[in-house]
């Protein structure tokens, strides 16, 4: 039997079946209130000379 029916059911489940949503991904809008803090932290850890550093990051190919 082709699983077409099954798949349609699968697709609907997230909205229809509450039980299965025990650990839903958090769906609130992007958390922007302290995004500034994050950007500040990024600036603290980034290398000063981005262009030079990015250029010098060269790896030997692996698997």
């Amino acid at each position: 039997m082709p699983p077409g029916e099954e798949q349609k059911r699968a697709k609907k489940k997230p909205s229809e079946d509450e039980e299965i949503d025990e650990t839903p991904p958090k769906k609130e809008a992007k958390n922007t209130e302290d995004i500034d803090k994050l950007i500040d932290e990024i600036d603290e850890v980034l290398e000063e000379n981005a262009e030079e550093f990015v250029r010098s990051y060269v790896q030997k190919g692996g698997q």
């Binding site: 994050l38 290398e47 190919g61």
Partner: protein, 495 residues
């Protein structure tokens, strides 16, 4: 009935030295591993005898001409958690011990990051004061050089390889929507307007099936090196994945793939889900962060990557409906479904779950703040910095520390896995024998340990069954012996 999917992940880390004289990457990798491993662990050598990386699953062996010289004499240690930590292709590589489920594998994959981070700290003493080594858990240098994060799955030898190729290819090509680690830019061909890709690795795959891993990389790799009883098993070597920082990406990556492989083993698929052009599809999907692009199936239908994943999920639901489902598999199913539903609504709502979405979200915020164009090198640097394994420097860890990234396992579980092997595979025996009897062991590998207890000849304890050597089976035996000689005697008496 499909056999248990024993699995592991091997990750090649990117490596650089900063300050002072530049080390070549092999030397830097060696310094890292040597300064981490205790002398007790270093004296046990890796046993290369059973390695056959050139044997092809399609039934032939390649000439040894290309056998790399890289491996000979390089640093390779086995850790007390049953993992292997070594230098491979000019990168430090961490191979997790064998695990039986996706959750344990997430823990051991993350433990690898801790081992690398601990190594960086201990390497400071071995380096001149101005010099530092830095490593990144990513897959590309942004200049066309890639290094891998491979998954390994135990499969029955009875499964015809062509059925793996037929039923797995479309799955591997489309799963990047949740396994991708994200990347700024394009490294192959021209791609106007593509600033960001879902996958680190998609640019580097050129053929559908093949033995190579360092060039002409194939979607399905045919390396036939089971590290187990070759009559019964094969080890499917999946080379297409990105190295993930996100626990959820890793969990979904190995959990869903193991399920699809079990279905293949049970000949469960009766529908043709093959792709018309797998390599082209791989890139189309990677280069569309909206997840709306369509690819062609062999039968002429067109479908999005997310919808193709819905098809596989539908099959998995049907497959599992006829059997008892363990809690980890149930969580894989739940998260798989929730993730696809979210990707369909708006991928960006997964910025606390998936690497490629989290990274894109950070990049967008950074661009906004500093008003940068996508070509600005600072964005490539943010991309790289996401993968830095130092917990005070890596941007993934920054997100975790700020409560911006969902985690699946606890920090305690990860720390514990640095020294404790999984209990339900042969890794338990490997790790514990190493803890107790390292001075009596000469070499070890995935599938055996060689002892020298002063007898006339060395004695090998074969471990060809990945599900033997568990805590349940061997703990009592190990407890009852006072030394390695007694252990070997007990084994000999058993046979």
């Amino acid at each position: 009935m499909a056999i248990p999917k024993v699995m592991g992940i091997e990750t090649e880390y990117g490596i650089i030295t900063k300050g002072g004289e530049e080390y070549n990457p092999i030397l830097a990798s060696s310094v890292l591993i040597n300064s981490y491993a205790s002398p007790r662990l270093k004296r046990v050598r890796w046993d290369y005898e059973e390695e056959t990386p050139l044997r092809d699953a399609r039934g032939f062996e390649k000439s040894a001409l290309e056998q790399s010289e890289d491996d000979g004499g390089l640093v390779s240690v086995i850790l007390e958690n049953g993992a292997r930590y070594y230098v491979d292709h000019a990168h430090p590589e961490y191979s997790t011990p064998e695990c039986t489920n996706a959750r344990d594998l997430v823990i051991h994959d993350k433990a690898g990051e801790l081992v690398l981070n601990d190594s960086l700290k201990s390497s400071v003493e071995a380096l001149p004061p101005e010099q530092r080594i830095v490593v990144y858990k990513n897959n590309s240098d942004g200049k066309g050089n890639s290094y891998g994060c491979h998954e390994n799955y135990l499969m029955s030898r009875d499964t015809p390889f062509p059925s793996i190729v037929r039923d797995l290819t479309g799955f591997l090509v489309s799963r990047q929507v949740f396994t991708g680690a994200g990347k700024v830019g394009v490294e192959i061909g021209s791609a106007e307007g593509v600033n960001y890709q879902i996958s680190q690795r998609a640019d580097f795959f050129e053929v559908e099936v093949g033995l190579e891993t360092t060039f002409k990389r194939p979607i399905i790799n045919t390396r036939d090196e089971p590290h187990a009883d070759a009559e019964k098993y094969r080890r499917l070597h999946v080379i297409i994945g990105d190295a993930n920082m996100s626990e959820i990406s890793t969990f979904l990556k190995v959990g869903t793939t193991a399920l699809v492989l079990a279905m293949i083993e049970d000949s469960f698929f009766t529908e043709d889900l093959t792709l018309a052009e797998p390599i082209a599809a791989l890139r189309v999907i990677s280069r569309d962060p909206t997840c709306k692009a369509v690819i062609a199936l062999s039968d002429g239908r067109t479908i999005t990557a997310v919808d193709l994943q819905w098809e596989y999920l539908g099959w998995a639901q049907k497959y599992l409906s006829a059997q008892e489902v363990d809690p980890v598999t149930q969580e894989v199913m739940n998260r798989w479904e929730q993730t696809l539903a979210a990707l369909e609504t708006d991928p960006m709502i997964l910025d606390r779950q998936l690497d490629w979405v989290a990274k894109l979200s950070v990049l967008e915020a950074y661009r906004d703040r500093h008003e940068l164009g996508w070509e600005d090198p600072r964005l490539a640097l943010v991309d790289l910095q996401y993968h830095d394994v130092r917990d005070h420097k890596g941007l993934y860890y920054k997100l975790v520390q700020q409560g911006r990234f969902e985690q699946l396992v606890s920090a305690e579980e990860i720390r514990r896995a640095v020294s404790e092997p999984p209990e339900d595979t042969r890794a338990w025996f490997r790790g514990n024998v190493l803890k107790r009897f390292s001075s009596d062991i000469t070499t070890a590998s995935w599938d055996g340990i060689v002892f020298d207890v002063g007898a006339e000849s060395l004695q090998k304890v074969p471990m060809l069954e990945p599900l033997l050597g568990t805590r349940q089976i061997t703990e009592e035996l190990l407890r009852s012996v006072a030394n390695a000689g007694e252990l070997l005697e007990a084994f000999n008496n058993r046979q």
